[in-house]
Symmetry: C2
Subunit: 154 residues, 2 copies
DNA sequence: GCTTGCCTTTGAGTGCGCTCACACCTCTAC
DNA sequence: GTAGAGGTGTGAGCGCACTCAAAGGCAAGC
């Protein structure tokens, strides 16, 4: 299966109705536009996070961001790619400590592929049961809604 | 539509793949076994939460629990039903403050059906986009896994 | 009677993930 | 030149949702 097919397949599984994020966000993971050079405000806006958060992530060593002459951050493609990944993992509930560990593996000079793979496999399990939990909560919510619709004026 | 049909319909909307929790948990929402009389440890175990958390929920007025002669909590069917709902809403990310509001509506003596309905409708939207987000994260995770599988020894 | 264990209340503590305040710097526009 | 918008690093603060500690009550078993 080609990477692009994998992407499409993944997206097919995802659907995403309201919310705004779409295939664009996914593409970000795969693209390699080396001309990207964003300042912190632009980057934060694109990622939907607070600039403070970006500085915080850098402070704790999750990402390394080059500077311009004035010492201001210039987010290049590599930094943005990593941040897209990081924010996606964060919004899906992976704790910062795990991300630190993962990033340490990525940045290690030895071969850590299998360790990273294990982390991703575990996170996949977590995600799956999380989705199941949410779908259960959704069912409960739908049930309440149905109940309320049946008895509009009790 | 009979309650049981509503349940099934809700479940149909939910799918829930792996994860363990199933229609059992949903049934809990609808059943009315008035012989339920659990102590705090049993209740906590059934709900998968810390007994401290149950006391906390009661302290902040989310639920009202009768006592036995010794002053110990005896969770009856009504309390358990409410707690099942509450924990489901909590695990799906509804903040405590919203739950307080919702419970205030439930316990109000005026007709608050439409207000509660609005809250549930809004939460449904939240849940849907949350699920979409998670599916996106799952896609990203699958993508990483696929990448690692393709290059086991780089 | 005394220990053990589970319960009670209340106030205080914890951990996480930001988020802010502060003091300072560096451009651009007027 | 000076105001203003935006940036910098660092330490401290915050909000949430628990989670624990302390001091005590009750009931069963030895």
């Amino acid at each position: 299966m080609e990477p692009d097919d994998a992407l499409r397949e993944a997206l097919r599984l995802a659907v995403d109705p309201p919310g705004g994020v779409s295939i664009e966000a996914l593409r970000e993971l795969a693209r390699d536009d080396d001309s990207t050079e964003w300042d912190i405000a632009t980057t934060a806006a694109h990622l939907g996070v607070n600039p403070h958060t970006l500085r915080y992530y850098e402070r704790i060593g999750l990402v390394c961001v080059p500077r311009d002459g004035a010492g201001h951050r210039r987010y290049d493609a590599a930094a943005v790619r990593r941040l897209v990944f990081l924010t996606r993992m964060r919004t899906s509930g992976m704790p910062i400590s795990d991300l630190r560990h993962y990033i340490d593996l990525v940045d290690a000079d030895r071969d850590t592929v299998s360790e990273r793979m294990d982390m991703m496999l575990e996170h996949r399990d977590t995600l799956r049961s999380q989705i199941a939990q949410l779908q259960l909560a959704l069912a409960a919510t739908e049930y309440k809604i149905a109940t309320y619709q049946k008895a509009p004026r009790p």
